[in-house]
């Protein structure tokens, strides 16, 4: 990490730690959502950014984590145990699924992960005895004041974001990250030079699923009510991808910058177009793909300036 990056991380951490002391409930809520998406973006980055495998199934793990945590929490055990259950279920499911699906390459893998989300939604909807089906699941409310609650969930999400960030950093500077980058550039070549590509991909997919499930677990406790259509929403798969594309694929800081930029846009622009929300998101995606292939880094300020001042 360069000195600039380190100081950036320290300043951001300090601001975030102090946030519940100064910000109101609205600010805290916004900050928690931002942390949640930053975590999801980093989770996707493991498989999609480093390994270049276009997973469209983040919502599957997010929803699975939410339901695993929610169901365990409704039995009355402590919240920490519920979140652990979310992580365990999500990680295990990602491991098994990765073992099967990572035989597929490229587009087939992508759409298979998309279908997994639909399947999990169908199962959750049908398994009324456990999940409450389409009626949704109400989580026990634990009688704290609203400000204490929002501070608690803010710190919980912040802790998760920090863990995900540190993991991303370790992976990026480690054999695993190197191997995954090789896979992204040329999988056959990576295989020939002795990288166990299947194992590496499964690791990346499992990391991705585990962190997404953890996010889902915290989300469920925070919101207090979940239903299949809400937590298995395909937008939970798509928005993190857009954020990573905005910020830069396979980088350490890109997903976080992308998440912040995306949510600022979300809060400033889209609030005024409720009905056209997804359409504008689609438009953003099209513009991003066709005109800004390197994400926000395409706006090279210095070259723009040079172009502006030279006659």
């Amino acid at each position: 990490m360069t000195r600039l990056q380190l100081s950036l991380v320290l300043v951001a951490t300090a601001i975030l730690l102090a946030m519940p002391l100064v910000g109101g409930n609205y600010v805290l809520r916004l900050a928690t959502i931002m942390l949640m998406y930053a975590t999801l973006a980093m989770a996707w980055n493991f498989i999609g950014g480093f390994a270049g495998y276009p997973s469209f199934g983040l919502a599957a793990f997010f929803g699975l984590g939410a339901y695993a945590g929610g169901v365990v929490q409704s039995t009355g055990v402590s919240i920490a145990l519920a979140w652990l259950a979310a992580v365990a279920v999500g990680t295990l499911f990602a491991l098994v699924l990765g073992f099967i699906l990572l035989r597929l390459r490229g587009s087939a893998f992508a759409i298979a992960t998309l279908v997994v989300t639909e399947v999990l939604r169908e199962v959750t909807n049908g398994w009324t005895g456990l999940t409450g089906g389409g009626m949704g699941l109400n989580l026990p409310f634990f009688g704290w004041s609203p400000s204490a609650l929002s501070a608690f969930f803010f710190y919980a999400m912040l802790a998760l974001t920090a863990v995900t960030f540190v993991t991303t950093f370790i992976v990026a500077h480690n054999r695993l990250g190197f191997g995954l980058t090789c896979i992204r550039q040329n999988e056959d070549a990576a295989n020939i030079v002795g990288i166990d590509t299947t194992r590496y991909k499964i690791y990346a997919f499992t990391l991705s699923g585990g962190f997404a499930a953890a996010t889902g677990g915290i989300y469920a406790s925070w919101i207090g009510y979940i239903e299949p259509g809400d937590v298995y929403d395909v937008l939970f798969s798509i928005k993190p991808i857009v954020m990573v594309l905005l910020g830069g694929m396979g980088t350490v800081f890109g997903p976080i910058f992308g998440a912040v930029a995306f949510l600022v846009l979300d809060e400033v622009v889209w609030r005024s177009f409720l009905e056209l929300n997804t359409g504008i998101l689609g438009l953003l995606i099209v513009i991003l793909i066709l005109f800004l292939p390197a994400g926000l880094a395409s706006f090279d300020v210095r070259s723009l300036w040079r172009r502006a001042v030279t006659p």
Binding site: I111, V115, E122
Partner: protein
């Protein structure tokens, strides 16, 4: 014989599913992009049929033609103007682009048509015929017949016409096709248009049997995907076979597991198939 009843139900469903999947499979095979717009194309085709019938009184079996032409033209424009710019890039790029377009199209349809489910209710229905103890709804059977005729037409078009041979050539070897003087970009656009036309036609046929809403796009897309893998990517006969298998799975699966698990069941079958035969049932090169 209740068994034969389920068999005929599966057959009738299967024809419609085959029609849904054929265009999707063609685009995937030739352009190696997954067209996430396919589900919305089907829905728009169904809406064209719905409004043609309720406003102008045109029978859905006739508006198959208009739906096909409109969606084919839309597909041609989208491919030529937008997707061709990034068609050579990684899967993620093309996939996310079609997803972005899907969001726009879906949102537009939600605003225009609302999320309510609608179905064409025919005034002069062909009714139901009883053979032995099997009940066959004739409207559905007719739409299945038309679906198979459309698939046959697509297959013949790929076999016999010069543009069809160009499409197959581009699929086999893009560079060689380019050297033989084939305009690859135009061929891509025509392939995409054919895929769109099949989707629109399928939508028209579906409107007689299924309620339609902008929300049903993703479900059709998921089914098309599963059928496509079952039959083998890019193969038109494969899509027909995959569609029939899918129809049977859905029909017989409903007896044992209930109809709400149809997609789950076929997905499990798909995963098992992938473990033993990764290229699908008819997954050979060429058509």
């Amino acid at each position: 014989m209740i068994l034969f009843q389920y068999l005929s139900n599966g057959l009738i469903l299967g024809g419609l599913y085959a029609c849904i999947a054929a265009g999707f499979s063609l685009v995937w095979g030739v352009l190696s992009i997954i067209n996430l717009l396919h589900g919305s194309f089907i829905v728009l085709g169904a809406y064209i049929a719905f409004f043609s019938y309720t406003v102008l009184g045109i029978h859905p079996f006739v508006s198959v033609i208009t739906s096909g032409i409109v969606l084919g033209a839309l597909g041609y424009v989208v491919q030529l103007g937008l997707i061709n710019r990034v068609v050579a890039q990684s899967v993620l790029v093309t996939l996310i682009l079609t997803f972005g377009l899907e969001l726009i199209m879906n949102n537009a349809m939600l605003v225009a048509f609302s999320a309510n489910y609608r179905k064409v209710i025919l005034e002069h229905s062909l009714g139901v015929v009883e053979i032995g103890n099997i009940f066959i709804p004739l409207d559905r059977a007719a739409s299945t017949l038309i679906a198979f005729l459309l698939i046959l037409a697509l297959w013949l078009c790929l076999r016999l016409t010069s543009i069809g041979r160009a499409i197959v050539a581009v699929r086999f070897d893009r560079e060689a096709a380019l050297l033989m003087g084939i305009d690859v970009k135009r061929t891509y656009a025509i392939t995409f248009a054919l895929g769109g036309a099949m989707a629109g036609a399928a939508g028209s046929l579906l409107s007689v049997s299924f309620p339609i809403s902008p929300l049903s796009g993703p479900l059709f897309l998921s089914k098309a995907f599963v059928i496509c893998i079952l039959g083998g990517v890019g193969s038109v006969p494969g899509a027909a076979l995959g569609g029939l298998i899918f129809g049977m799975l859905e029909s017989f699966g409903a007896i044992f597991f209930g109809s709400e698990y149809a997609l789950t069941l076929s997905f499990v079958v798909l995963i098992l198939l992938l473990l033993v035969r990764p290229h699908g049932l008819l997954g050979v090169k060429g058509f």
